[in-house]
Amino acid sequence: MKSTGKRYRSPILLIALLVLLVGLPAYVSSSSYTVILVTNILMYVVMALSWAIFSGPTGYISLAPAAFFGVGVYASAILSESLPLPLVILIGGLASFVLAYLVGSATLRLRGMYFTMFTFGLVELVRNLVHWWEVNITGTVGRLVVSEEPITVFYGMVVIFFAVLLGSYLITRSRFGLALRSIGESEEAAAHTGVNVNRVKAVTFGVSAFFMGLTGATMCMRWSYIDPTTAFSIQYSFMPVLMAIFGGMGHLYAPVLGATIFSLLEELLTTKFPYYYMLIFGLTMLIVIVFMPYGLEGVIEKWRKRGKGGPEDVAYDAEKR
């Protein structure tokens, strides 16, 4: 592999970030607005990074994040009274992994568009199922959940954030990551070189969903009531995709950047234009797709490489989508 120095511009930066995040409650009150805001930002960052783990290298566009997030939410809602918190969150992640692996095994053998169509429907499907279950079996739609202190949720998200970063990094460095990138370039050549293409795709899709499930399970603790419509809101599919597309998916920083910018933007707009901000985001997606298909990262990388030549130091395949 190429020199490690550039791929993580500074491990120092990361450690600094870790210290900052862990120590945050030292400078602000532990239930303050800042903690809640950062928790929200971390949620979107993790969702965007998770989405990019799969859709970045393979080029398959998944519209299912909301399904996996919602599964995590419901796992947490159902289990949080009977099991310890970390276990509940883990189960949320695992349930999403299993769902994604099954869906992926079935549909990733097909052309990309069939997969996308199926993932689009998956959100509606799971929501319908949960709704039906609640109407016919549980008796009431929606349920009350045990909420936790904002600071607990905050630390939960910090851990998950670093887990995703670590996961991304390990995948990239491993032979699994090499296989993943080769699939993104030419599935046929990868298969003929001995890569079990369908399995690699399904596992990666599962890993991506795992982190989304963890996130859903954790964020559920910020709420006191959930129902299928809020848990499986299409927003949880749209925002990560928008953020990853806007930010870019080549280097690790790109989705993080996109997610941070948009979470802050959302925070800003909900107060000033509460009814218009989703509309603005929809328009942003259109503008980004038409004018900035490689995202902010594309712009940044072009600026960085001006005048320089040489091989690109890329974790994912930024130019293939």
């Binding site: 549909t107 689009f120 429907g121 319908n128 509309l279 997606m285 797709i289």
Partner: protein, 290 residues
Amino acid sequence: MIVRFLDIAIGGLLTGGIYALIAVGFGLQYGVARVLNIAHGEFIMLGAFCAWTFFTKAGITPLVSMVICAPFFFAVGFVIYRILYKPLRTSSESAAVFEGNSMLASFGLLFVVQNIALLIWGAPVKGYTYLAFPINVLGAVFSANRIVTLIASVILGSAFYVFLMGTRTGKAIRAAAQDADAAELMGVRINRVLALCFGFGTMMAALGGLLLSMTSIMLSPVMGMQYTLIAIIVVVLGGLGNIKGSFIGGFILGLVGYVVSSVQPGLSMVAYYVIFLFLLLVRPTGLLGK
């Protein structure tokens, strides 16, 4: 026993008629213009809300609204294609890249349209009733408005089929469906044809929504997505790029939906999805596809 069977058959047809209509529109956009328009359902929703607005605010009946809405939504679709998808088609390096980008653009469009609707009409559910008196068809009783929707769907579908087969523009569309670049080389003004297809697709979606609204369903700005899914499943069921297939697939799915709804309401989407999964696993080319 026969009455029961007929009851199901006709009920399924009534549901299926609209499914067929919206599927044909979706199929045009995906089969010809190669745009996976996941915002399709949003135009169905808009058509429904237009009908509601015209009826409850101005007393204009849905059938008259159709005449107003058809050209309007055709124009909307045409313009959207020109300003959104045509630049993408030019800038995308390959067909695969265009497919991905146009799908993402449609995703953005979904949010734009849905939120515009939310702003105009608000979140609370609405509905109206029109032609709700019962009619006896071969022993089974159905609401008149549902029969009207079936008749309208069949008329619209047939008219479009005649248009496709009989006119020069129709031939151009069929050529573009086979191979857009080849058609362009043979003199077809491809951008205009693709925009036309998109316009027809949007128009049919809106008309479908309009007809749907007549049957007293609950209208809400978030109702679109399930219809997009139905359109997708029908098109895959009938075979991508196959107009006749979309029509037949629509009726089949409508039948399934009606049966499942009578037995276990709330699970019809799940049933559709199971069919979808089955199709993808066993025969992704659909019933009539190659």
